[in-house]
Symmetry: C2
């Protein structure tokens, strides 16, 4: 079954102690789509400016991603600039230029509306509601951020009541629920709407909570993290991609989906931008899934 992905498409400038990547392909919807395209047909919905390089379009097309919902607006593409520290868990945002993203209102073409699975990337909750009005998806996953938790709680609350899955990080769990304990926080989120809560913890792995209880998994151990930008969105792409391909949302499939999400995210961290992610095939993913099983079994 196909998956619609709505969110940002960006040109990212990333500085790390190991190098710099200027105006590389970025954005939540980009990472998510590239990851999910390994599993299923993806309908990408977002906006770029008239400066968006053709090579990026060709890369997305080469992965058979449906770009009918990729709007080209006059002006400049959304830009983000960030700097990572030697401890890659620490980063500073140096600059954000919304550009064409500022006036973006997602418009879903028919195929994107009809997709059974939908990922709502981290955009303003009122835009996420606009997407939900257009989409017929039976299974919707949501990302958000502390900014919306604090500035638009009412709109976010409405979105939460209409989605199956919330994918967040620890600090978002705490901000959304006021719970300092992640497990209790994840439980509290289920009372806000989502049947399934996924807590991404970066190098520390991932938790999933549904009505059957908790699933916990470490991260794939990486000695060579080059650039973790987009890892969370890549996780979401592997997670939703696996679910859409299996066309199942039972507990076992959700567990496998978390593992697939973790594995594709691990590839994404091993090069600047989506460079490594864009290279991998399902065979690479499955072979790392096997390695992961060997690393975690007891």
């Amino acid at each position: 079954m196909s998956l619609t992905v709505v969110g940002s498409i960006a040109l990212d400038t990333v500085e790390t102690p190991w190098g710099k990547n200027e105006e590389g392909l970025g954005g939540a919807a980009t990472y998510c789509s590239l990851a999910a395209a390994n599993y299923t047909r993806v309908h990408l919905v977002g906006v770029v400016g008239d400066d968006f390089p053709g090579e990026h379009v060709r890369l997305l097309e080469s992965k058979s991603i449906d770009l009918e919902g990729l709007e080209r607006a006059p002006g400049k593409t959304f830009r983000w600039t960030g700097r990572y520290y030697k401890d890659v868990n620490r980063r500073d945002t140096l600059d954000t230029q919304l550009n064409v993203f500022e006036d973006f209102h997602p418009k879903l073409p028919q195929d994107a509306r009809d997709a059974k699975y939908l990922f709502l990337g981290n955009i303003h909750p009122s835009l996420q509601l606009e997407v939900l009005e257009q989409a017929h998806a039976g299974f919707v996953a949501l990302d958000t951020m502390n900014l919306w938790i604090h500035t638009t709680p009412t709109e976010l609350g409405k979105v939460l009541r209409r989605v199956e899955v919330l994918i967040v990080n620890d600090s978002e769990v705490h901000d959304l629920t006021g719970e300092s304990n992640t497990i209790r926080g994840a439980r509290a989120i289920r009372d806000l709407g989502p049947r399934i809560v996924v807590v991404k913890k970066g190098e520390h792995g991932c938790l999933l909570l549904d009505e059957e209880g908790m699933f916990a998994v470490p991260a794939y151990p990486l000695g060579d993290v080059i650039d973790p930008t987009g890892a969370g969105d890549t996780f979401a792409g592997g997670f939703m991609g696996h679910i859409a391909r299996q066309d199942r949302t039972d507990n076992l499939t959700l567990r496998e989906a978390v593992v697939h999400g973790s594995i594709v995210a691990s590839f994404a961290c091993q090069a600047f931008g989506p460079n490594r992610l864009a290279e991998i095939t399902m065979s690479d993913i499955l072979s790392r899934c096997d390695a992961f099983r060997a690393i975690t079994i007891f």
Copy 2:
């Protein structure tokens, strides 16, 4: 096979947002011994003052822990006072009084010398060397801390060359090796001596590295962390206890040992001091091991 545990025995005063525990039983060797006593015969080596409450001695005796190596010195028992925040990963040490611990030199009775397994709790590396001179153990696990890494690197280096296992947390990995990446840091530690490196990450689980590669496991998810004091030493007790009981140190046994360490540590966090830890039996541990398997399987 039996296990000798050398380290601090303390009276801890712990404040959390949920309550206060004044002068409760504490200390690394205490937690480690109480955990390991579920698995095997433990020889406890440490020092207490003449103020050490008889009820604590009786608790240790009730677990069949051999107290021949428990020295009673004139003066006051080692005391530690700490305060935890709502986020229990954050704590401040408010006061440390070494008292009788200041002049402590471990003296191992014959049974403690002859034990096949030895845990060197976090004490001055020169004291750890004194223990190694007395002990005949074939398999030694070591704990340390950033203080010794920075102030006594030469002595610590000598100890490292004589132990099989180093059990540390992430920040100690970074300080000991200069590596910001935990995986690379753990690999670098193996070059310093230990065949096996165990990295404790608290609520984020645990990594083990040996010559066969990496084992990664999440923590047992707890919604009710009351007091994490001693969790790391409790982990070491479950880890070494399982190994001593199995009398094996192959990769599969080490993996199981990490799981046992994680499980006993989870119990320790669920009450002030070792109160919950002191109550559990092997049946509680095995039943939580089963639950843990169900939580982590995919």
